[in-house]
Assembly symmetry: C2
Homo-oligomer: 552 residues x 2
């Protein structure tokens, strides 16, 4: 074992790529996140593999596309046996801990079929998407199956915030001027302060839990990978003082949309434009209430990054810790007449991605911006490489970004990024009257154009250079057919080449390569295929002896 | 529990679809297999999902395409957690036993990762592809990892056939006129009798083992699914007396091939034409020795079918047992200048498929021939339906053929059959100088045309109506581009719609369908997405109350 190495994998939830000052936001200042970008590389074209939390995160935690891990919608268990980042890291003696959200649902049926005790260590790893659940908290406590009784609720109670549901009643409700309790789920209350002192709200709580984990792991001399997974700035859009009042309607950028987007829209887009969240976010009144709170939630995260980075600095952890700051997907916030995420405009499918590599090899790129096509599934192989593990391209469908971060300008970096979305569980399926199996959208972009396609629906195409705001869908424009066809062919190739052979490595497959040139390797175990007679066999056996002799 | 029901799933290995008298072979008489066809339905267009044993069988045993189960070549373990026929049948209290070959390799790494004890009952099921291994025997004992010490070897020793490797030394060696022992792997000895009395050879041995299993299960009053899996007529091409002398070179059909097939062949085809087995099977001398033995092996199986069917008849088991007779793939036997299998001409990828359904509903079709496109993965859902299980389209990618067998002319029967082959482990990869990940071929046929395509190689196209012998590859013929494009589009759709979401059913996905029309179902667990204010929420809550009231 060489020098100890660690990974800090920081993920926000529903944070748009463009809501950071380093990414050009005009009034939202995020100096701490920017400081990480100054020490590392900021990727401007990082795509998540699905536009909703669950599938996107399962891709992040398995390093595999949605087509491969099969958890295609929120709430769909990750199949038992699907290899995770945690599995790969445990093999090389790295502790892989979760602090926060995963959106994981355990495959209880599969675990039962395989006789895996949910209370065993292995059972917990399987149920927790490969992580050691140091602190599991998916947010959304009112109802969620994910964490019925999170530690954060107990924490609130301990600190005097008692209620049946302290998360909802205190931390995610708004306080009126006369102490009234306003429902924090409702967008009209987004301008109110959360009914909790800032220090007890989720973001600083989770930061402290992460620091506690790191202290413990450091004290034990363990290599660690800490996944700090904030549930913010995801809704409920409500933030404690003083963050609730830091931004106003003056900070709200105009929506990126055009009337043309509502005339003959693509049928799936049309279905999502009709959803309540889209209709409401298309109203200025809503955006002006919500976006300042959204910005406040981000500002709070940035301040916590300051706390966290100071903690790391004090312990010299920047010396050996690879740090990633990212998000699981974006938020339309009314752009394109949409709310939430789901569709594939950049504000939804592109995420912030800052990678700090402690290696001196990365010194030359510090503070630079890189526009290579990066995917969230690249993180698992990046961590594996940093931590000294062997690459696993037969399982991990992403690629380590360390060559990019180290300015190595790697040959054959990917030409396309892909994302997927399964809308079978949404109203859109009913609107389009499609069978469950057909409700699949695929996005592929080469950075210049973006194609969105799927069974039974026409293609959407955006010209990212000529129309960077993605206001004109040219999918049905005959003049663009050649682009559609080119991207479709690339997607077809992607579809044809999944990493589905996960039980043996590429080395296993190529094990006989050298022998092939000299003799028939199957004669070694005595499987004689297609030999006519003893002479033919003897010839091969002689060739083998000759080759064996040459090896000694 | 209604009336007891059983399944008998009989699989041969490497049996061509056209080597049965019911399928039109001119001199090979298979009256017993024909009798099953007379009682059931013979499908003339049944395609296996891969053209080599392992992947084809993993598809048969999981009901899933190779893209989904991921065991893409012989020797590649089936990933732990991949649901099997045995898993589905155990859920409905049916004993699912193996008697013979599966070509399964256990995913030991995966089992270890999940803490599954290989000696536990679950561990054995996982390691044995979901089967209870009543008798596991993959043939190829000399070397194989599959069954180091099969019961058949012990059986041979008990009967006086002792040797280090009795399987090879006795059952699969040839006896010379003066008692010499000839290597049964070598094709030149295919005309000799195996050195074992017929009754002790593998085919009757396995038949007896199957009957023993059935007797046991019947005695216990169990529902059962017995997979009788003969390793013949697969090589070693050697058969005991009298079968070794039943056929001669006069019974050998001329090879189906043309000189044109060797001029500018498709690059993958060319690589396989260069393999030893292809070069040798392209020689008349080889075909004339081997094919009579191949026919003898089939004749022996047919005689054993007579024994088996008589056994079933005596126990009235035809009354409640669904019986399938099929094979895992074919054998080129020199057609198209090829030996073995691998490629996608019908003689390789199409298999015999006879389905006997005991139900009176199938009476009208008995003895008929059906040319619908059937896939081997249809068997698992067929068995599940016969045995009273719930259909699982989210896992099982095939379709029950019972509607076809019952003459129901089902709506929307499949329009295409698909098969896959991964040649990354073959010399062909080196010949084509391709990365491991690119060596994938896909076959799709609509019954009229057959397209074979894959990354980095040109398409192959056969006109099955105009050129039923598949002698002319029209894949690069511009006049056929429209056909290539049509089949490619169908393949793209197939690729886009795998059954990858295996942890929840379609019912789960559509669970809110009825509610969607009346109110926002997410308000039930209290997840309020996109609501502006209390009034909006109250409206939905009222709508829900109204709907609830209407349900009572």
């Amino acid at each position: 074992m060489g020098k100890r190495k660690n990974v800090l994998f920081i993920m926000c939830d529903q944070l748009r790529y463009d809501y950071l000052s380093c990414a050009g936001h005009p009034t939202l200042s995020t100096p701490n996140i920017d400081s990480l970008a100054a020490r590392g590389v900021r990727f401007t074209n990082c795509y998540v593999q699905s536009t909703v939390c669950g599938p996107s995160r399962m891709s992040a935690y398995t390093g595999r596309y949605m087509r491969s891990h099969g958890s295609t919608q929120n709430g769909i268990p990750l199949r038992v046996g699907e290899p995770t980042l945690g599995d790969h890291l445990r093999e090389i003696d790295v502790r892989c801990a979760l602090i926060g959200k995963t959106h994981m649902v355990a495959d209880q049926e599969g675990m039962e079929r395989l006789g895996i005790d949910p209370d065993s260590i292995i059972g917990v790893h399987v149920a927790q998407c490969g992580f050691e659940p140091y602190e599991r908290d998916d947010g959304l406590h009112p109802s969620s199956d994910y964490d019925a009784d999170p530690a954060y609720d107990a924490y609130l109670r301990e600190h005097g915030f008692d209620a049946d549901n302290p998360w909802e009643y205190w931390a995610n409700s708004g306080e009126g001027d006369d102490g009234e309790n306003f429902n924090g789920w409702l967008l009209t209350h987004a301008d109110k302060a959360a009914r909790i002192p800032e220090e007890h709200s989720e973001t600083p709580y989770m930061t402290r839990r992460a620091m506690r984990f790191i202290e413990e792991a450091e004290a034990k001399g363990q290599n660690w990978c800490a996944h700090i997974s904030y549930i913010k700035p995801h809704w409920p859009y409500i933030v404690p003082a003083p963050y609730h009042a830091m931004y106003s309607s003056a900070d709200v950028k105009p929506p990126v949309r055009s009337e043309a987007e509502r005339i003959h829209p693509h049928p799936v887009l049309k279905a999502f434009q009709a959803e309540r969240f889209s209709v409401n976010f298309s109203r200025d009144e809503v955006r002006e209430k919500v976006i300042p709170a959204y910005m406040g939630l981000i500002k709070q995260i940035d301040d916590q990054m300051g706390v966290l980075f100071k903690f790391l600095e004090e312990r010299s952890l920047f010396e050996d810790t690879l740090i990633v700051f990212t998000s699981d997907h974006g938020d339309y916030l009314g752009d394109h007449w949409l709310g939430e995420k789901y569709m594939f405009h950049d504000v939804s499918v592109k995420v912030p991605m800052i990678v700090y590599d402690p290696s001196p090899k990365a010194d030359a790129t510090r503070g630079t911006v890189n526009d290579s096509l990066v995917e969230m599934i690249d993180m698992a192989p990046t961590f594996l490489e940093h931590l000294g593990g062997k690459a696993k391209p037969h399982v991990l469908e992403g690629r380590s970004v360390l060559p990019l971060v180290r300015g190595e300008n790697p040959q054959n970096w990917r030409s396309f990024a892909v994302s997927e979305y399964d809308y079978a569980g949404e109203r859109a399926r009913l609107a389009l009257d499609l069978p469950v199996s057909e409700c699949r959208l695929f996005m592929i972009t080469d950075g210049r154009f973006k194609l969105v396609t799927g069974p039974e629906v026409p293609p959407m195409l955006f010209d990212l250079a000529g129309d960077p705001d993605e206001l004109v869908d040219r999918g049905r424009d005959p003049a663009m057919a050649y682009v559609v066809n080119r991207l479709r062919a690339a997607l077809e190739h992607w579809m044809a080449t999944p990493a589905n052979r996960i039980t043996v490595s590429d080395d296993w497959v190529t094990t006989s390569d050298e022998k092939f040139a000299h003799f028939d390797p199957l004669i070694e175990p005595g499987v004689l295929i297609g030999y006519w007679d003893e002479a033919e066999l003897a010839e091969q056996q002689e060739a083998r002896r000759h080759w064996m002799a040459s090896k000694t």
